[in-house]
Amino acid sequence: MNKTPAIELRNITKTFGKVFANRDVSLEVFYGEILSLLGENGSGKTTLMNMIAGIYYPDEGQILVNGEEAVIRSPKDAFRYKIGMIHQHFKLVDVFTATENVILGLKEKGRYDIKKAREKVKAISEQYGFEIDPDKKIYEMSVSEKQTVEIIKVLYRGADILMLDEPTAVLTPQETEKLFKVLRKMKEAGKAIVIITHKLHEVLAISDRVSVLRKGAYIGTLETAATNESELTEMMVGKKISLNIDRTDPKDPEERLIVAHLSCMNREGLKVLKDVSFTAYSGEILGIAGIAGSGQRELLETIAGLQPITDGGIQYITPGTGIIENLRDKTPMEIRALGVRLSFVPEDRLGMGLVGNMDITENMMLRSYRRGRSVFLEKKAPKSLADQIIEQLEVVTPSRETAVRKLSGGNVQKVLVGREIAAAPTVLMAAYPVRGLDINSSYLIYNLLNEQKANGVAVIFVGEDLDVLVELCDRILVIGHGEVTGIVDGRTAKKEEIGLLMTKGGSKV
């Protein structure tokens, strides 16, 4: 190729403390192409892009823009080089409209002219095929619309080099397809696009070339057309691994948890769950699919006794005896007092499931500290449980006395899941248990869930990756706008079918 790269990185190194986030990374991005930056969580993809976007400053190495060395010390500098980044977490003002958000912080010459800005936003939308109402307020928007605003914001500032950090993480398959269409149009318009992702099929679908990072180091760049999933996985992980999840047939399923006509409201008095009914059986994994924020969290929290219910009921059928316990309006303590062994791996691991500043032993005690009559804490059993989990789940930690907040995401999750499974549950609820985990840890968690299923536990699994849901779950409940929009068989369901169900619901009650 005899072109000048839009961006060229030469031997970039960045450390945080003693940890190398990026080590000697070199790569190039050209105009008119889409480059995928592939790597597991913690491999340094975002750090690398943040250095181009002016959020971090490299410890060593050079960044060249259009063939000339560039010093990018702030996002403002980045815009001067026509570089724009779309972050994973949106930075928008909720009560402003799309247009207002787009021009926020811009110092344009002349008077503040919202009409002109609005026209420009419209023109950009039409050029690339965005569907957006410039006057819509952010709080009325879906996640995908918010993302669109972020992209327009960057284009409005004249960016020719766009970097998107895991843009599809929050989108449905249909929305992802739309986004990809837009990206292709931008590419045709000559923009250089970098998309950070760890989803292989997306890499293959959208990019022209793919660069792989592993543990901060640059592994290599391939032409997308000339590679495949297993080769990319091997580059990403460093060894060959099989990407298959075993799915056994449920053994003697019994009704374990019956949720009937469940409704609940959030603090603002809006209904977040509407008339949700389903049954969870022992020995099966029930998946829950839905766009983020459709009521999944509330559903699990109501069952766990953490959210008040406005309508409906939750019944637990005791294994063996068949005695029915009513869990409605019970606190977590009361539920446990009934002998219901309900384990819950919440979405917010360090904010709810664990205490970040406490060590592994103390986090084990969360479930067990009340045992015994003594006013003093008993630490022996939690200590040995901590040791056991560290050993069996291969938790990488300097010691048992390390604060869990200092562990990596995967290890934090192992500690949490390990503790919840150690309680020998009959119902295990897990919300996004593999979010942010590397491939190996993810498969370890899937295996743990499968083990629990084999032990006759009723497993409820809230997931976001539809590929995993259809591979792992026996049945999948789809939730949209707080309503059950369908329950499908995991063995026969198609991703597209689930994606469609996810967008339904939301009828006025």
């Binding site: 060395e69 103390e362 500290y369």
Partner: protein, 364 residues
């Protein structure tokens, strides 16, 4: 290449001796700056000024005793706020809780003083003071638990109420009438006064606070209650998730917090002042907040932080009298020293790497 002048890097783990080395350097630096300022502003020999500081704190046996007595009271109030602080409940009402306790103790002293044996009076005073302190603290806790009111403002306002109540009763009961002060209570009979130990005043106070320090340390570190306090403080969501009754913990902990503050009031009235006024707590209710924070809520370390602060207070007072300086000057010196001690925590948590030294730092 135009690099930024310096980077701030977070330290991951600091060895304990390194942390203490940084603190020692900070204290040295503080004295250096204080010395320079002394020369510039007063022309005095800084060493004689520092000498006066030490003599003010350690000069005589009586001064040493007063130093430890002051430390005991400040530490006791620090112990009072600490359980609440560990729960992230910002109780800045210790001043009022101490006064409430002191007022209750003084009331018992005045009315029961000469009617029963001194030991009974002491026990009665203690019970009254602890109860009053607890009540003063539990009111904001109840409001917080029920209506999620802001505990910082609420406890602060409770201080003013306590101060005004005391002012009212001091006028009402003033001896002699109309003097505007209560004077020494039971001065002749010494009924209800804490007895001397080893022939010295204040030792009783010091012993009680020493025992209390260990008890609070054990309570916070080794009991189920202490564990619940930590969990609620770290994350209310986690606490609810595992089924801790957060409201109950808040109320229970504030009762404890107030009770200890009430005890401090008792020690002040029965063991130290033998009188009551709106100045009985003397701002220690606020200084105790700093004591607790400086020690990162560890009761054992709080001995050091309270000792340091009382030492500075006593020393500063001595400078003022010895050299006839304005009190503001000794406040400046105290301020400098405390500033450096608090400021050095930044250097314990972060490292600064300058442009020129960076390449070398990477090599090593």
């Amino acid at each position: 290449m135009k690099e930024p002048l310096f980077h701030i890097i977070k330290r991951t783990d600091v060895v304990w001796w390194k942390a203490w080395l940084i603190r020692a350097i900070a204290i040295l630096a503080a004295f250096l700056v204080a010395a320079i300022l002394t020369v510039i502003m007063t022309g005095l020999n800084p060493f004689s000024v520092f000498g006066a500081m030490f003599s003010g704190a350690f000069g005589t046996e009586r001064r040493i005793l007063k130093l430890f007595q002051g430390t005991a009271i400040l530490l006791c109030i620090g112990l009072a706020v600490t359980p609440a602080f560990r729960m992230r409940f910002w109780n800045i009402g210790a001043e009022g809780q101490v006064l409430a306790g002191g007022m209750a103790a003084a009331t018992v002293l005045i009315f029961a003083g000469d009617r029963m044996p001194s030991a009974f009076v002491i026990i009665l005073c203690l019970a009254a003071a602890v109860t009053a302190g607890a009540i003063w603290a539990v009111i904001p806790a109840l409001f917080k638990a029920k209506w999620n009111t802001n505990e910082t403002l609420f406890t602060l306002m409770m201080n003013y109420i306590a101060i005004q109540i005391i002012k009212y009763f001091v006028l009402l009961w003033s001896v002699p009438k109309g003097s505007g002060q209560i004077g020494i209570i039971n001065g002749t009979s010494q009924s209800g006064w804490l007895p001397k130990l080893f022939g010295q005043d204040y030792i009783f106070n010091i012993v009680i606070v020493a025992i209390l320090t260990v008890l609070v340390f054990v309570y916070l570190r080794y009991t189920k209650h202490g564990y619940e306090i930590s969990v609620v403080g770290e994350s209310e969501k986690t606490a609810r998730y595992i089924g801790i009754n957060v409201k109950k913990v808040i109320i229970r902990t504030m009762i404890l917090s107030g009770a200890i503050a009430g005890l401090a009031g008792f020690l002040l009235v029965n063991g130290t002042d033998h009188t009551i006024s709106a100045d009985t707590a003397g701002g220690n209710g606020f200084t105790a907040i700093m004591v607790s924070w400086l020690a990162k809520f560890n009761p054992l370390v709080m001995f050091l932080s309270s000792f340091l602060i009382v030492f500075l207070q006593k020393g500063a007072g001595q400078i003022t009298t010895d050299f006839g300086l304005n009190k503001s000057f000794s406040d400046i010196l105290t301020g400098i020293i405390i500033f450096f001690i608090i400021g050095c925590e930044f250097f314990i948590n972060y490292r600064i790497v300058f442009r020129s030294s960076r390449k070398e730092a990477e090599k090593s």
